[in-house]
Amino acid sequence: MMNNKKIALAGNPNVGKSTVFNTLTGLHQHTGNWPGKTVDNKSGFFKDEKTRYEIFDLPGTYSLLAHSEEEENARNFLLFENPDKTIVVCDATSLLRNLNLVLQITEVNKNIVLCLNLMDEAKKKKIDIDLKKLEDILNIPVIPVVAVKKEGITELVKALDEERKVRDQIIYDERIEKCIYKLKQVLKEKELFSLNPRYVAIQLLREDWDLLEEFDKYLGYELLDDDLRDVLNSCLEELEDLDIDLLLVDTINKKASFIYDQVVSHTSKKRSLIDQKIDRIVTNKYLGIPIMLLFLAVIFLITIKLSNYPSNFLYNLFFSFEDDLLLFLEGIHLPSYLVHLLVFGVFRTVMWVVSVMLPPMMIFFPFFTILEDSGYLPRIAFNVDGVFEKCSSCGKQALTMAMGFGCNSVGVSGCKIIDSKRERLIATITNAFVPCNGKFPTIIAIITMFLVGFNTSLKNTFLSAVILLLFTLLGIGMTFLISKILSKTILKGSPSSFVLELPSYRKPQIIKTIITSVLDRTIFVLGRAIVVAIPTGALIYLLANTYVGDATILSICTNFLDPFAKIFGLDGVILMAFILGFPANEIVVPIIIMAYLNTSAMMDYSSLVELKNLLIDNGWTIITAVCTLIFVVLHFPCSTTCLTIYKETKSLKIVLLSIFIPLICGLTLCFIANLFLGIFV
């Protein structure tokens, strides 16, 4: 019979907690909601000979004082889910601050293992940590680990069996301790289950009424009865002149410093000097922004250039199956209309979505994750925070925007890094203003066909790059404008405090990065895209092949939309293609071709010259081209992004705002462009 043990994994942000988690659980993990919680959290399991460990990855936090959703989440898990052991992951290179959280956790939970990660970095930085002494002071196992190299993981698992309980560490100011004692006397009479009476007493003194409510829910009775209220009131009166929060934190900080001084000795400051040198360059007044643009531009160029090859490969590969699939389905005697619906509708759409979406994401995200791991991304937020503060939002929004260039859906889930809820929503709603990978091929094709010409001279290439940049800047400019408007209207509020850590630079783990970014981001996004592509594929096929009288439903729809679309310089086909292209921006052009040619399934074009002729035959002018370009950049986000917005915010209202705000902006700009260009052309 196996034992079951529940393990919590806690720690500061950016200490390699998820690496420890991934190393422990391997592939036995899933992302899911815990009951009653709003933030996604991971859990997983692993086994040794006699025990099955279920491990919960808590949100990374600096403290347990519950100032943010993440902190509340982590604290509540430790308090109410009663884990058998809590592993606190610490960054060996900045143990001082990490010790704060360790000490705070000792007040909640006594069964702790300290996992000292990034020991290799600490060694390089000549930081010497006396593990034995730290272990003696705290009376808990202290395990040195290099999670990315899997060093120390076996020892960590072994330590989960230890019985040692952490020694009480914190003694507060005498007057506070007296009050804690008084409250504990009353609390002794009550059934507190797994709650630590001392911790409960301290939280009462902090007057954390939200937490008191959680206590009541957990205990099933009202904790603060008349007796306790009397004692508490007299205590609070006695301590009236003290800022209790400040005193508590101060005591913990001092204790952390005290322990730190005893166990850590620096023999060199060389490494942090290297960090400072890099920072001087990448945050430099003149160099900072160009370096940032260079990094991003290189990643985009590589992504756009390289993804053509695997895209074509996948496309041809899937296409070669199409006939076989057709024959097979006919062979099992399915009715022929169903076969065609499945093959030319569903299969072709899904194939299209996979072959155009997968390669750019598989190239973009590993690069992006490498920048993330190296510690460079926070410096971007640091560099550009000024303009975001002016929009009453947060510099970290720059990072979610950069992710949005890869995929808006990933950008939206990246908004988790923004602490304040108001600013997080602003970043979420405006993310679709940043054109994603899926839009670039369409934008480039239209620029080549209508604005620059097919001649690939240096001048033309440069000109198309400038126009591409202009339309990208249009998206970025709109992001700022709408962020500002949102923070003055429905998401009113002043910028919240912005505390941004600039972590030490680290050498990124290339292989691990590729694997996790493919698993975590690409596959995940692709899954959501396919879920929507299946019904849409069937719908597109049905619309294009169901006749009412002489016309297909598709052409009836496009004719119906036509007068409306003309106001905005578009036409019915273009608008309909965007609506049907909801699952992925990449299939908009194939749908346009299908509708113009009146074929029964989506088609690709053999050359841009041919496509241009087709478009001109169907009434495209330079005005149509410009308006379509605007609309490509500014319309509703794709279905995957909408699903992700709903998953992250659990609010239909936010999803609708995210759909209609960019749509209205796009239509307005198209209307203006159509009107103005109409005068000149």
Binding site: L246, D279, S497, V499, L502
Partner: protein
């Protein structure tokens, strides 16, 4: 003196934090309490944000927040 007025390479000690409660708590989280030594490192381009070394970590704080932190030079 206010933390927002310190110059690059200044080393100061926090005397008092007069921010509103929510922001003061954020500072507590990163260990910024009276008595803490703060080293002013570098500003960003728009000069609305400045990086400090606080308890061994590099943390950046907006000027609009650091003007509520009263510091003095280390004697």
């Amino acid at each position: 003196m206010l933390l927002s007025e310190t110059k690059v390479n200044d080393k100061t000690i926090v005397k008092r934090i007069v921010s509103n409660r929510d922001i003061a708590r954020r500072f507590l989280d990163i260990g910024l309490t009276p008595g803490t030594v703060v080293e002013t490192l570098f500003e960003n381009i728009s000069k609305n944000l400045c990086a400090y070394r606080i308890r061994g970590a590099v943390v950046s704080i907006r000027k609009s927040d650091s003007k509520d932190i009263i510091v003095a030079y280390d004697e």
